[in-house]
């Protein structure tokens, strides 16, 4: 950690090798766009490099901190691009195809560690988690987008996360 704060490039290079696949995965999932994801990743690591001194170990793990930067940067970009899309969803909550295109999940075979583990989640469970995490939707928004009652979203979300924990703890 000291080496990082002193901005040691070797340690930063190690950090990159260690975490870039996860951060890149997040960016690709948020943006649904491979073409710009590389530039965003570079941007994210530049932010991490510039603000290393602001990372506070007492508040959380480094990976958590880095993930937040990646996710927030990507969501900002998505938000600046997706105003039109939101508009559509607001106007056509019943249109299943619009919903499908919003929550479009990249083909899973591309992913490094993607294994049978995640297939133990139902498609709906993964959609719930993905909407919440990658698209930054609140539960109210998920309810509107998926056209299910808010209470149901809360229950199913809890089940999805519990299921995920159970699978991962095995």
């Amino acid at each position: 950690m000291q080496g990082l704060k002193a901005r040691d490039q070797k340690i930063f290079s190690y950090l990159y090798d260690q975490y870039s696949p996860a951060l890149y995965g997040v960016i690709v999932k948020v943006l649904n766009d491979d073409s710009s994801a590389g530039d965003v990743l570079q941007d994210v690591f530049m932010k991490i490099w510039r603000h290393l001194d602001r990372y506070d170990e007492t508040k959380g793990r480094l990976f958590t901190w880095m993930l937040n930067i990646a996710r927030n940067t990507a969501i900002d970009i998505l938000r600046s691009k997706s105003h039109k899309m939101e508009q559509k969803i607001r106007n056509m909550p019943d249109d299943v195809h619009v919903v499908d295109s919003l929550i479009a999940v990249q083909p899973s075979t591309d992913y490094l560690g993607f294994s049978r583990i995640l297939e133990k989640l139902t498609k709906e469970q993964r959609t719930l988690i993905d909407l919440a995490y990658y698209k930054g939707c609140t539960q109210e928004e998920i309810a509107r987008v998926m056209d299910i009652p808010l209470g149901t979203v809360k229950t199913r979300m809890r089940n999805a996360i519990n299921q995920l924990r159970t699978i991962l703890n095995k």
Binding site: R7, Q9, F12, S13, Y16, D17, S20, P21, A22, Y24, G25, V26, V28, K29, A37, G38, L41, Q42, M46, K47, W49, R50, H51, D53, R54, F63, T64, L67, N68, I69, R71, N72, T73, I75, D76, E86, R90, S108, Y111, L112, G113, F114, S115, I117, L118, I129, A132, Y133, K135, G136, C137, T138, Q139, E140, E141, R144, I161, L164, R165, L168
Partner: protein, 264 residues
């Protein structure tokens, strides 16, 4: 994902109860594992680009930290906020704007139509003016050339030497205007067949029985003008032969088209 308020509540609860904190941390680790499982290797050149950028970064250590929102807590895309704006106001404002824009559209469209008519007229005028201008320039140049030719022809010191066609080319005709004092020689093609691209007509002066090159000359449009040739102070005769392009050192006698003696 939770809203900002929910996050604040959660953080307060975490600070108070370690069990809540543990639970949240467990949830976070599950999420991070989920994310890690969906990791994806980026292109290798991104790392190279990143380190190039880092090495080009000036004075990072001393630089003022830039405030960056993205380093704060996770955000949510909130559609709630827009709701808190009074929709009645928005609707009224939108209606007023719509009516206003319709009226303006009508006014501007009419103006635009008028303007477009004028613009079309203006452009066609511009086009015709340009063509008149270029024609008038053309006439001006031609007039100047004619005047120049007239001056040469009318000069009493200038001798007019008609060159009728030879036996081989009886139809051909050309004229030389020669000023023995200034030694200037001009040629006027009256009638000569257009040569092939690799051939050119050449004018000769016969001085004391020997042919002297007076230069090649152009055909086509230029042939209607007086063409200035090389100078000579002495000549008994002028003749034109057809030679290879660029001219020959000696005239080809079989290809002599016209020839004329100096009168007097």
């Amino acid at each position: 994902m939770a809203s900002d308020e929910e996050i604040r509540e959660l953080e307060a609860a975490m600070a108070q109860y370690s069990a809540v904190a543990e639970e949240v941390e467990a949830y976070r680790r599950s999420m991070e594992e989920y994310i890690r499982l969906q990791g994806k290797n980026p292109e290798t050149d991104i790392k190279t680009r990143l380190f190039t950028q880092i090495n080009n970064e000036p004075n990072l250590q001393e630089g003022e930290p830039v405030p960056d929102q993205d380093l704060q807590q996770p955000k949510v895309v909130s559609m709630q906020e827009t709701k808190s704006l009074s929709w009645k106001w928005l609707a009224t404002a939108a209606a007023v704007l719509l009516v206003g824009s319709l009226v303006l559209n009508y006014v501007f469209f009419n103006r635009y139509k008028e303007f477009k008519e004028y613009k079309d007229k203006y452009q066609s005028l511009l086009v015709s003016q340009n063509s008149i201008l270029s024609k008038s320039n053309l006439y001006k140049t031609r007039l100047e050339q004619m005047q120049e030719s007239m001056e040469i022809i009318q000069d009493p010191k200038v001798l007019k030497v008609p060159m009728p066609g030879t036996k081989a080319f009886p139809e051909a005709l050309a004229t030389v205007f020669w000023n023995p004092q200034s030694q200037e020689v001009y040629l006027k093609v009256n009638k000569l067949p257009e040569p092939t691209a690799d051939k050119q007509y050449q004018l000769w002066a016969i001085v004391d029985g020997k042919p002297v090159d007076m230069g090649v000359f152009e055909m086509g449009d230029t042939a209607s003008l007086l063409q200035k040739m090389k100078v000579t102070g002495k000549a008994q005769m002028f003749a034109v032969t057809l030679e290879k392009k660029g001219g020959a050192l000696q005239p080809t006698m079989e290809q002599m088209y016209v020839a004329g003696k100096i009168p007097g």
